[in-house]
Symmetry: none
Subunit: 140 residues, 4 copies
Amino acid sequence: MNLIDYQDSRPIYEQIVENFKTQMYKGILQADDQMPSVRSLAMELSTNPNTVQKAYAELERQGFIYTVKGRGNFVKGNTSMMDNKKNELINAITELFKEAQDIGIPIDELVGEIKKRLSSMGIVACTASDKLGKEGGYHD
Amino acid sequence: MNLIDYQDSRPIYEQIVENFKTQMYKGILQADDQMPSVRSLAMELSTNPNTVQKAYAELERQGFIYTVKGRGNFVKGNTSMMDNKKNELINAITELFKEAQDIGIPIDELVGEIKKRLSSMGIVACTASDKLGKEGGYHD
Amino acid sequence: MNLIDYQDSRPIYEQIVENFKTQMYKGILQADDQMPSVRSLAMELSTNPNTVQKAYAELERQGFIYTVKGRGNFVKGNTSMMDNKKNELINAITELFKEAQDIGIPIDELVGEIKKRLSSMGIVACTASDKLGKEGGYHD
Amino acid sequence: MNLIDYQDSRPIYEQIVENFKTQMYKGILQADDQMPSVRSLAMELSTNPNTVQKAYAELERQGFIYTVKGRGNFVKGNTSMMDNKKNELINAITELFKEAQDIGIPIDELVGEIKKRLSSMGIVACTASDKLGKEGGYHD
DNA sequence: GTGGTCTAGACCACC
DNA sequence: GTGGTCTAGACCACG
């Protein structure tokens, strides 16, 4: 469990939720893995058990974990988890591109800069754009 | 001025700020245009003058407007405005792509889907990716 | 607001939620009516503001109210509310009838007894059974 | 013995109780049949013997089984069992109808829909209501 | 004034 | 041991 950023404006319980969700997306936490107990995690994060409890309740509500009373919280094997996340990302990015379009920022410039940054992080964005670009379909 | 969405979780003053910023980006509000007075806008939005005041203060802090005592608030002709916005968008999108990469979603799929959606909205995303993909500028 | 039954095994916050939901179903609370403030209701019920807060959060999550920060909670004008409730009731009752069937209790007996009880409460169940039973069997 | 649903919010011991009760209602378990031993059932359900013990204690308290020291637990031949269950069901259904009435849902609609569903499951709900309506058996 | 979050500490049911 | 609920009291952002 990563540490909490007390500088962050987001509430602590929300940060906990986010942390666990990414851990699941990344496969660090897998189906039926046991979550740390409310109390122990509270100790580890030096926060209040109620706060952790709230985070777990939220995770359960969103379908990421399930609770066995008296035993603990466990990761739910949610097959559609990935698809949801993918759609979420697609929506978010599309929305941003649309916004750029609205205020007249040329998409070319955006994409160019983004690609530069991604590749400087070692992310092979080119393959993607490549496929996009390919067969010369769009050479204006 | 568009209406405020009271069901939105974001604070009202922030919605006002956002509204004005997009109006400036879109060119609806231009340099040295006069902003509506605090009181009149508060009336129009049927909200508290304090709230409008807070929004204007925030806009001034961010360098989007300037105040002339006794006369009112005016739009600042900020040449770097666009660049800031562009950078903001680039950062946001890059961040999202990075996240996708982190959890193992193939960027290809994302870009493909996004492209589909943009073009279905009449936004010519293809030209952008094209230029990217072509001249091989960023391949290494 | 009805009183809380501290004998009831259900948690207090859940009782509060239920109370408000029925008040909405009955039309006592209508769209955009303001809910009592968290603190005042807590006082009235002589319970803790946190408990009321939890109830309100749940009501918001379920789409029955919306929150305007700094102003209060308000009833959401949910048109599909009634339909949801109706379906819920139908499901519950059907489930019970199915259970009876499963363990071999003749449905006739059940319906007979239920009808007796409903009419003794002044509920005109007969009209309903009428349609069911068709052609004018019951002109009493 | 059916399996336990650990994702179910109800406590495990309660699920065990329910399971046995329906088995008795359905006649799968009959008077003086021996119940599985606490330990073996605990193994079978891979749960804690304490939990099974608690379930058996509850079943005994409710008059469904009796204990012979050193021999085991046995099903009680309780003639009033069925009547209790019937009353329970009648109460539950009546309560739901009353609730519907309270919030102004026309009982006709409810009954109509329920009838549709029951018959689509092959349960002859119609005959029941029919008998009700016809020979006037329950009219007074 | 409003709601939202958090802490500290308690009690309960369940396993 | 586990999670779930509740209290008392605090602090913050928002209007």
